[in-house]
């Protein structure tokens, strides 16, 4: 089995060097020569000093932060340092695995290319050589064998790293211009990738100062250090507190609403108009067109729109008017069907519900717009409601609706699209008003409670912002401001 694997690896490597010579030219390579063996006439730069390294905090692992003192010849002294080269020591086992990974990469590229066809005269064309030898199924088998091999061998990397400095080689990682004092080595977490950096394995690094002549001096070797992932990202602590604060506010106000507390919500023009618009459609004997936008079912604007759709559908069922809901996303269609069906049930008219009230059109933006425009001009709906996430199609939809003489009510949290709705619609819910509308219409304790919580959260934000701006004018205020910093 091993012999077969080796033969295959050699064959694939030969092919990869033929096919992807250009790609590999700039890739990482090993450097196992003695760095002090340079041309005698060239003066070596002073090496960088005090190389230190730590595991990169607040990440999923596989990354380390290195820092060093500049070489005395960087910007001073001989001023000859052009760049710094970062090297990592890897055990022989890693180099062996990398050979298999290279073969795996070639196999995967061959398989990928065959799905879209091979063009004559291209690099991929030369892959035909492989096909003359192996069938597609055999190539899949080879690929799976290689993956299993890499996976199994990776488990021995941590132990193999303990053999430093024996049985290994220095691998080039990256280069940085002179003046650079730190480097974040972000390795891959994918064990199939050549850039894979195993967690909890000893890592050794060195940094070389390199001159324009190629003379280089190495720093002292750093190591061993280990990388690992963290469950909790401390950079995001402010987010945790914000979510907790908001959650507590929501729980409090939902409980208040359930107890029957009178939670005032100011009237919203656009929403007040919904009932009138449905009445108008009924009087005119024309349908109501409800457009949920181009968002997915997970977008907050679409979720808010579902609530409003439920309310509209209930009224439509009561008034026995026709409702048209053309959708862009299949999941949105499914959820919308459930919402409308439930609304008809709540209105006591489940028999009036038609399956094709909510229907799928297409997932191409402008094809969808063309279809909805066609509906507007042929069905002549009395009312068009646009609620959800909209993009470049907003003005096209709203203008066509205006042309057809429909009453139009819109709402979106896409800031760039709000202007178009404002100019072409009769009523527009701006940004957060869309979320508020769903609560205002539903009058359900959960929604009303969350709306109240939002308001109090906004009040807190305004208060904190004012305090923050005042304190930011003084040096001691920086500590307060930094409390709200969120890093990635």
């Amino acid at each position: 089995m091993k012999v077969k694997l080796l033969i295959m690896v050699v064959m694939m490597l030969a092919l990869s060097s033929f096919c992807f010579a250009q790609d590999n030219a700039t890739e990482a390579g090993t450097e196992d020569t003695d760095t002090t063996a340079v041309v005698e006439s060239i003066i070596l730069p002073a090496p960088p000093g005090n190389l230190t390294g730590i595991d990169k905090p607040n990440d999923h692992g596989h990354a380390a932060i290195l820092s060093w003192d500049l070489s005395p010849d960087d910007g001073a002294g001989e001023n000859s340092v052009l760049k710094y080269e970062i090297y990592k020591w890897v055990p022989q086992l890693m180099l062996d695995i990398n050979l298999v990974r290279d073969s795996l990469s070639v196999i995967q590229r061959i398989l990928r290319n065959t799905t879209s066809g091979i063009t004559e005269g291209t690099q991929a064309d030369s892959m035909k050589i492989v096909f003359e030898k192996y069938s597609r199924d055999e190539l899949f088998d080879i690929r799976n064998t290689l993956i299993a091999h890499v996976k199994q061998e990776n488990t021995g990397l941590a132990e193999a790293s303990n053999s430093y400095p024996e049985n290994g080689a220095w691998l080039f990682v990256d280069k940085k211009p002179s003046g650079t004092k730190s480097f974040v080595h972000i390795g891959s977490k994918d064990f199939k990738s050549a850039g894979f950096v195993p967690d909890f394995a000893n890592l050794y690094y060195r940094v070389d100062a390199v001159t324009i002549d190629g003379a280089k001096s190495s720093s002292k070797v750093l190591g061993p250090i280990q990388t690992s992932g963290q469950w909790y990202n401390t950079y995001r602590t402010p987010v945790v507190f914000s979510v907790l604060f908001f959650t507590l506010l929501t729980i409090y106000f939902v409980r208040e609403a359930r107890k029957g507390a009178d939670l005032y919500v100011r009237p919203l023009g656009g929403i007040e108009a919904v009932d009138d618009a449905i009445g108008r459609a009924t009087e005119m004997g024309r349908p109501i067109l409800y457009v949920l936008g181009l968002g997915s079912a997970a977008d907050i604007a679409t979720i808010a729109s579902f609530t409003i759709l439920g309310r509209v559908a209930k009224k439509v069922a009561e008034y026995q008017t026709e409702l048209l809901v053309p959708t862009y996303d299949p999941i949105v269609m499914t959820v919308a069907q459930e919402v409308v069906k439930s609304a008809y049930l709540d209105a006591g008219r489940p028999d009036a519900y038609k399956e094709d009230t909510v229907h799928f059109v297409t997932q191409s933006q402008f094809a969808y717009v063309a279809a909805v425009n066609g509906i507007m001009l042929r069905e002549l709906p009395a009312t068009n409601v646009y609620m959800g996430k909209f993009f470049a199609e907003s003005l096209i939809l709203a203008e066509t609706g205006a042309l057809a003489g429909s009453i139009q009510i819109s709402g979106t949290d896409e800031i760039a699209q709000i202007p178009f709705f404002i100019v072409a619609c009769d009523y527009t819910l701006i940004g957060e008003e869309l979320y508020a509308a769903s609560a205002y219409l539903g009058k359900e304790p959960v929604l009303l409670g969350s709306l109240k919580a939002q308001d109090y959260a906004k009040a807190a934000i305004i208060l904190l912002a004012v305090i923050g701006v005042v304190l930011a004018q003084f040096e001691f205020g920086a500590a307060f401001v930094n409390l709200f910093e969120v890093a990635n």
Binding site: T115, F140, N144, K151, P238, V239, S242, V243, F246, L263, Y264, V265, R266, L268, S296, A297, A298, D299, I300, I303, I331, T334, V335, E338, V361, T362, Q363, S364, F366, A367, Y368, A370, A371, N373, G374, L377, T400, I415, A416, I418, P419, F420, I422, I430, A436, L451, K452, D455, K458, I461, I462, L464, A465, V466, G468, V469, A472, V481, F484, V486
Partner: protein, 269 residues
């Protein structure tokens, strides 16, 4: 240009004109263009979903398993779970079991919301709040060169951004009626918003006009290509290029004349 390429270009021009004809009124050409684009895009997306979603994210992940083991012996067998959830969506075809399709939907929305909440909180609340807390540049309050009201980095600009943000937030306060001082601040907030919307509107309309110009340039290029005007030494007069050009032109002009006649007729009647 090869004649086949020219024919494809003619198709593009025809579809452009058919779409623009919507500005006049709904008509058979617009309907044709509409149905063509909807049908083609629907078919296209089925193929895209198959090749870009199902093949790499499901089939290729389970390739090393065997069908008679239900791919449970695959190295990444857990991809069977989303596949099963996807299959559950098909229960919607059954009236009796359609309720099962709510499980994958619930899971999808639940996971997406769970991911969205901390992201939205970080990007739209925490980062914005932190960005508001700036040290006002009092030294260059009216701009770096003494007086530059259009400077975006002056202390005045910083102050306007801060006050505008606070006023905007107050506009979106729903628990209190917009009256008195509170109403005044909210009004200032909506003014700030409207100024922003106006700028955004103008900017986007300019971008749309450039799209229109692009289509007109294509139409012009099509006309020039029909007469091989770019290569005067080798004119195409009388060739099949002009036949196509004149056929489309006459078709469009004929339709316009027909519409005018119809309009006049109905007016006289």
């Amino acid at each position: 240009m090869e004649f086949t390429d020219f024919l494809w270009m003619t198709c593009g021009i025809f579809l452009t004109l058919a779409t623009f004809s919507f500005l006049y009124k709904d008509n058979p050409f617009y309907k044709f263009a509409e149905h063509l684009v909807v049908g083609v895009s629907a078919g296209f997306f089925v193929i895209i979903l198959w090749h870009n979603t199902l093949v790499p994210n499901l089939f290729q992940k389970l390739e090393d398993g065997d069908w008679y083991m239900l791919w449970l012996n695959s190295s990444e067998w857990w991809y069977i779970i989303p596949a099963l959830l996807g299959v559950l969506m098909w229960t919607r075809f059954s009236k009796e079991y359609s309720w099962v399709s709510r499980w994958p939907m619930g899971l999808y929305i639940g996971i997406s919301t769970g991911i969205a909440i901390p992201l939205e909180m970080a990007n739209r609340v925490n980062k914005q709040l932190h960005a508001m807390m700036v040290e006002i540049d009092w030294a260059n309050f009216f701009g770096a060169d003494g007086f530059d009201l259009l400077s975006t980095t002056s202390g005045l600009a910083q102050l306007i951004i801060f006050l505008g943000t606070v006023a905007g937030l107050i506009y979106f306060f729903f628990s209190k009626e917009h009256k008195g001082v509170f109403g005044g601040v909210a009004k200032f907030g909506i003014w700030i918003l409207m100024i922003g919307f106006g700028a955004s509107f103008g900017y986007t309309v300019m971008a749309r006009v450039s799209l229109f110009i692009n289509r007109m340039q294509d139409t012009k290029a099509w006309g020039l290509e029909a007469f091989n005007a770019n290569d005067i030494a080798n004119p195409n007069y009388g060739s099949q290029y002009q036949i196509v050009f004149w056929a489309l032109t006459l078709f469009v002009v004929g339709y316009i004349v027909k519409e005018i006649m119809q309009h006049l007729k109905s007016k006289n009647a």
